[in-house]
Structure formats: structure tokens, C-alpha cells
């Protein structure tokens, strides 16, 4: 009997060493609180719920403490575990292009086609990427890491994950979480910068109504877009190719079922897997470092620079335009490619000063140009550094 009780006691003691309570560290608790905070932001404040719920829950999943030496094959960094297999889509970089396929199938480029000069705003806002690149170099990151951090300023989660998986895989978790967090915080970050850099007169500018765009133009856009951008930056092919392919499915008008799958079930599935695995990749032991904190600070900086450069570019551009063609600088922030949130911010801030001024359709132009611009910038960085 005594032996049996001893056996049970040893078994229980052994089991205890496998539990989360035994293996928990302060880092785990901190990360679990971060995950709960993300879920709170998504549910209570409705900040990017489609991203923050999977990421927030993923953080919880990734930070359940367990005995790392036991070889249970449950952790995301343990080869062969289920989470590790799902994580392959992030590390090998095939989730982001599939997300771009869906984005292409749901994006209407009409605003851009009707007023193509808005594309230049999308290009100007990419200064955020390089502002953060310079700052990251200054903080001691090497050029590859700095480029991966800088791309947060492109405000494009899939692009950030794609580039960091190639250039700095060890920083990918922090970069992805930072990119998605700041995309969710666009309504907080952008308006003060926009108000600071514009005068009341500029905020009241009413833009010309965009012209109607023909079906032929819409079909031509993805084809010409792909050829022009990818001939220039072939390294951007996975992202740009899928973006324009998705758009052609939508605009061709003859592949409705494919377009609906791409912008519906496909993008939803990939978003869930991407969010969950990126969240789960933030294991406290890997994530809670000084580098992560620096990345978060640089991410905020890059968003501010991107917003400011978009707004300032419009102001400078206006000096060259005729009175009737002037652009409202409040759409400059939309060059940051957080689609469609930053365009929505242009509309909201614009409406504060002139409720009858509908800027949303104009802001969608630089917004989708920003998507193209950030993918091109990622391609350039990849081409330069690999």
C-alpha cells in the first residue's frame, strides 16, 4: 500500500512538472495579458477585430507554459507540431501572397484609374518605411533587420511578414505584431498628425468628382500594373502578381466564382491561420526582448513619418496644380496602405471640418496605390539586400 501511494505521489509530482502552473514565468503572464488586451481592443473598441482576435488568441496559445524539454511537440517552434506545420505558411512566406490575392479580388481601383496622379501620394507615403530604416540603423540593427523593421511603415501586415520572413526571421513575430497593432491604431495615430500639418483652408478643399471608369480600363489595370511594376521590381512578384491576379478575377467579370472564393473563404481562412500563428509565434522566451520594444517604438515612428510624408507631399504637389485640380491634403494619410482604415480616417477628419465633403472615394486612390507602393518597396529591399 505504501509503495502504491508512493507511486501515485511520484506520478502526480511528475505530472505537476508538466503543467503550465509549474512552468509559468513572469514573461508568460505578461504575454498572456498582452493577448487579453488585444482581444479587449478588438471586442470592446472594435479595432481591427479580424486581425486582433486571431493574433490576441494566438498570443494566448503561444504562451501557455509547458515543459520545453519534454518533447511534447506542441509548441510552435517544435518541428512537426501542428502549430509548427501551420506556421510554415508564415516562415516560407506563402500566406501573405494568398492574402494579397484576396485583397486584389476585393479592391476597386476605379478611384485610382480615374485620377491616376493620386498614385504619387501612395509612393510618397513610403517614406515611412525608409524613415524607420534609417532610425533602425541608428539604433544598431543591421541593414537586413532595419529593412524588415522599416516595412512596418508600409502599414501592410502581409508585406511586413513576407519581407521579415526573408530578411530577419528572428524578428518576424515582433514585426508582425507591431505592424498589425499600429494598423489597428491608425484612428489614434493619424488624425493628430493630419491636423498638425494642414491649415483650416486646406482641410476644406473640395475635390473634383472622379469620372466614371470603363470596364476596359478596369481590366487593363491589373495587366498593365503587373507588367510595369514587376518588370521594374521582379522581387515583388509574389505579392504584386497575386494582388493583380486577384483584381483581374474581380474585374474580368467572367470569373465571379473565383473572385468570390478569393475575397471570401480563401482570405478568411488564411487570415485566421496567419493571425493565429503570428500570435502564437510570440512566445515569451523569444518575444520579450529589448529588440521587440525597439521595434514597437520604430513601428510607431514609421507610421507617423508615413502619414506626415503623405500629407506634406500633397501640400507640395498642390503648388504645381491648377486651382480646380487641387487635392485635399487630408487624403495624404491614405497613402499608408492600411486599407481601408486610413481612407476612412481621411473621410472622418474631413467631415469634421466640412460635413458635406466626401473624401472617402478620393482617399481610396492613394490607399490602394499605397498597397502597390509598399509591395514595390518590399521588392526593392529584397532585391538590394538578398
Amino acid at each position: 500500500m505504501g509503495d502504491f501511494l508512493n507511486f501515485l505521489q511520484n506520478n502526480l509530482a511528475d505530472f505537476w512538472t508538466y503543467t503550465g502552473f509549474y512552468n509559468a514565468t513572469v514573461g508568460h503572464v505578461v504575454m498572456i495579458l498582452v493577448g487579453i488586451f488585444f482581444i479587449y481592443l478588438a471586442v470592446a473598441k472594435e479595432f481591427e477585430p479580424m486581425l486582433l482576435i486571431p493574433i490576441g488568441f494566438g498570443i494566448l496559445v503561444g504562451n501557455i507554459p509547458f515543459n520545453l524539454d519534454a518533447g511534447l511537440q506542441v509548441g510552435i517552434y517544435e518541428e512537426g507540431s501542428v502549430l509548427n506545420i501551420l506556421y510554415q505558411g508564415v516562415t516560407s512566406g506563402w500566406y501573405p501572397p494568398l492574402i494579397f490575392l484576396g485583397i486584389g479580388a476585393m479592391t476597386d481601383f476605379s478611384a485610382l484609374i480615374s485620377n491616376p496622379k493620386l498614385m504619387l501620394i501612395g509612393a510618397a507615403a513610403q517614406f515611412g518605411i525608409f524613415g524607420a530604416y534609417i532610425a533602425a540603423l541608428w539604433l544598431g540593427f543591421d541593414p537586413m533587420q532595419a529593412a524588415s523593421i522599416g516595412i512596418i511603415g508600409g502599414a501592410d501586415g502581409p508585406t511586413a511578414i513576407f519581407l521579415s520572413s526573408k530578411l530577419a526571421p528572428n524578428l518576424m513575430g515582433a514585426i508582425a505584431v507591431s505592424a498589425y497593432s499600429y494598423m489597428a491604431l491608425v484612428p489614434v495615430i493619424q488624425p493628430p498628425v493630419m491636423r498638425l500639418l494642414t491649415t483650416k483652408k486646406e482641410r476644406l478643399i473640395r475635390m473634383k468628382t472622379p469620372r466614371a471608369v470603363s470596364h476596359t480600363e478596369k481590366v487593363m489595370f491589373p495587366i498593365v500594373g503587373l507588367l510595369l511594376t514587376c518588370f521594374l521590381v521582379p522581387s515583388g512578384l509574389p505579392l504584386l502578381g497575386m494582388l493583380f491576379f486577384g483584381n483581374l478575377l474581380k474585374e474580368s467579370g467572367v470569373t465571379r466564382r473565383l473572385a468570390e472564393t478569393a475575397r471570401g473563404p480563401l482570405i478568411d481562412t488564411i487570415t485566421m491561420l496567419l493571425g493565429l500563428t503570428v500570435g502564437a509565434s510570440t512566445q515569451a522566451s523569444e518575444f520579450l526582448t529589448w529588440d521587440s520594444l525597439k521595434i514597437f517604438a520604430l513601428g510607431a515612428f514609421s507610421f507617423i513619418v508615413a502619414t506626415a510624408s503623405g500629407v506634406l507631399f500633397v501640400k507640395i504637389f498642390n503648388l504645381m496644380l491648377k486651382k480646380d485640380d487641387k487635392i485635399n491634403p487630408l487624403i495624404g494619410n491614405a497613402g499608408v496602405s492600411a486599407v481601408p482604415d486610413s481612407a476612412r480616417i481621411s473621410q472622418i477628419v474631413g467631415a469634421e471640418y466640412d460635413p458635406g465633403n466626401y473624401l472617402l472615394m478620393h482617399a481610396m486612390g492613394p490607399n490602394v496605390a499605397g498597397v502597390i507602393g509598399s509591395a514595390v518597396a518590399a521588392g526593392v529591399l529584397l532585391g538590394f539586400l538578398v
Binding site: 498614385m119 518605411i129 525608409f130 530604416y133 470603363s214 521590381v233 466626401y358 538590394f384
Partner: protein
């Protein structure tokens, strides 16, 4: 007429396509990368024997299989020996940018990677690599006489055009089954670190490329847009039987009609939440009236209890 135009266009396309075809041999993915003829104390095989060897490199970024390929060797005219690389050995698959080493020991029974020939230590060795369809993939003449014991003849770097003698010195070392030159750093990154420590160069160049890309799109779609407006105007003029351009401009042909703009504005207005009035929050529970039907009547759906008579 339309068919004729299409015919001319397709013919021209075919002509251009044919003109762009050249006799140039497609670049082979598998190449001979390094050869050592006189092995005295260099790399030894699994049997502990020092033999000459031939290293094959997969230049591609995909796995390539050597099974069924041929290695031909000749040191004097007319004495070509052919080694058929056996099929059925998984090790003949070479992963992307990796190497495979064949022992020139004349002992093919020792395994897939032991050939049926020996390389001449004094004469020139011609080595040819053929695919399973007997097409030459790569060939090299290893000069005899200039190679001393334990020295190899190799491409300067993996897959490069230039060859050199690797004399096992500090810079030119013999590398069986590994890269001909060990890459110890990322030269591109080091260049940036050295020439552009602040990042200004990268910023200027990369932003120029981003702007060029989007300016090209802008120019293209500005032209396409103008063309589309012109075409729409011309079609509208045709439909309305108007020939005067000023009149067409006055009537706004080719521009978005007012109704379209009104519809967009209305949609935006609704999207901002204007389509909802203030909802009443009082819940009223009213009795649901069910009309009688024998189909839903309980009495008809119950079985009668069996009773004894």
C-alpha cells in the same frame, strides 16, 4: 476586314516569336563543378580509399535527379568510357544548390557513386555529363600535367564560367562536396554597412524606384484615361447624332451623369450610419396565435393504448 486584321496581328506575333528563338543551348541545371585526378591524401571514400573524384553541382533552385544520366570520360581519342548513373537510388537527387561526388575508382560495385573508370593523372581528361536523353549537359577538359597531387581543377565559384587550379592554398582550397568558395558573409549587406551606414543611399535609391514604378503607372493610365474619355464622348455623340464638339462638351458627353454622383453620395451617407433611425429598446412579448389543424393536434399523433377485449 476584322478577320484580316486579326490574321495580320497573329502572323506578326508569330514572326516576332520565331525571330526571338535562337539556336542557343538552354543552360543546364547540372554542371561539372570540380575534378581531382590524383588523390594521394585528400578526401577518402567510405572504404577508406583515396581515389580521384568528380563533383557535380545543381545550379537550380529546385531538386534535380541524376538517375539515368551518363558520365563519359576520355583521356586519349577513342577510349571513351561511359558510366551510367543507376536508377532507384534516392541519393542521386541533388537538392537545390547542392553537390554530388562521384569516385573515379573503377569499382562500380562499391555503389552508385563509384564509377567504372579511373581518371588519368598525366594526360588531359575530357569529362562529359549527359542527361538521360543522351543530351550533353556539360563538358570540361581537365588539363593534364599542371595538376599536382591533391590539387583539383574547379570552377572559381559554384557554377561559374571560369575554372582554376585549386592548389589547397589559403584562398584556393580543394572543396569536395561543398561550395567552391565558402561564403562567410553577405557581401550586399556588408556593402551597405560600409558605404551607407546612415541609410540615406538606400532611402534615395529605393524611393526613386518606388516613384518610377508608380509614375509609369500614372503616365500609362493618364493616357488610357484620356483615350477612354475621348472614346466615350465619340460614342455618345454618335448615339445623340451630334457632330459639333462644342455642343457635345456643353451637354457633358463622356462625363459621369449627375445621377451616378448622387447615388455615390447617397451610398456614402448611408454608410456613415444615416440609414438607421433611433431604435426603440422596449421589448414587447405578444402571444403567438396558432390556428388549429388536425395535423398538429396532439390527440391524432398519439397511438391508442392496446386494450384486451
Amino acid at each position: 476586314m476584322k478577320k484580316l486584321k486579326n490574321g495580320i496581328f497573329l502572323s506578326l506575333l508569330l514572326l516576332v516569336g520565331l525571330a526571338s528563338c535562337t539556336d542557343k543551348k538552354p543552360a543546364s541545371k547540372l554542371v561539372i563543378n570540380e575534378v581531382l585526378t590524383d588523390n594521394v591524401s585528400n578526401f577518402q571514400d567510405d572504404y577508406g580509399v583515396h581515389s580521384g573524384w568528380i563533383e557535380i553541382f545543381n545550379k537550380a533552385y529546385s531538386t534535380e535527379d541524376l538517375a539515368g544520366c551518363l558520365i563519359k570520360v576520355s583521356s586519349t581519342p577513342g577510349d571513351t568510357v561511359t558510366y551510367f548513373i543507376p536508377k532507384g537510388d534516392v541519393l542521386t537527387s541533388i537538392p537545390p544548390r547542392q553537390h554530388s561526388l562521384f569516385w573515379a575508382d573503377g569499382a562500380p560495385r562499391r555503389g552508385t557513386f563509384h564509377t567504372n573508370f579511373v581518371l588519368s593523372k598525366t594526360d588531359d581528361n575530357w569529362i562529359g555529363l549527359y542527361d538521360s536523353g543522351r543530351n550533353l549537359m556539360d563538358e570540361i577538359v581537365v588539363p593534364g600535367g599542371i595538376l599536382k597531387a591533391n590539387q583539383s581543377y574547379a570552377r572559381v565559384t559554384d557554377g561559374a564560367e571560369e575554372w582554376e587550379v585549386k592548389d589547397d592554398s589559403e584562398e584556393k582550397y580543394v572543396t569536395p562536396s561543398t561550395n567552391n568558395q565558402t561564403i562567410e558573409s553577405n557581401p550586399k549587406m556588408e556593402n551597405f554597412e560600409h558605404h551607407d551606414p546612415i541609410g540615406i543611399g538606400m532611402t534615395i535609391t529605393a524611393m526613386c524606384v518606388v516613384f518610377v514604378g508608380l509614375i509609369l503607372l500614372y503616365v500609362c493610365f493618364r493616357f488610357v484615361g484620356k483615350l477612354a474619355v475621348k472614346l466615350r464622348k465619340r460614342n455618345a455623340m454618335k448615339v445623340h447624332n451630334v457632330t459639333d464638339k462644342d455642343e457635345a462638351k456643353e451637354r457633358g458627353f463622356g462625363e459621369a451623369p449627375g445621377e451616378v454622383i448622387a447615388a455615390i453620395t447617397m451610398a456614402l451617407h448611408e454608410a456613415q450610419g444615416a440609414d438607421h433611425d433611433v431604435e426603440e429598446t422596449i421589448l414587447t412579448i405578444s402571444r403567438v396565435k396558432r390556428s388549429y389543424s388536425p395535423w398538429s393536434s396532439k390527440i391524432y399523433t398519439l397511438r391508442e393504448t392496446p386494450h384486451r377485449k
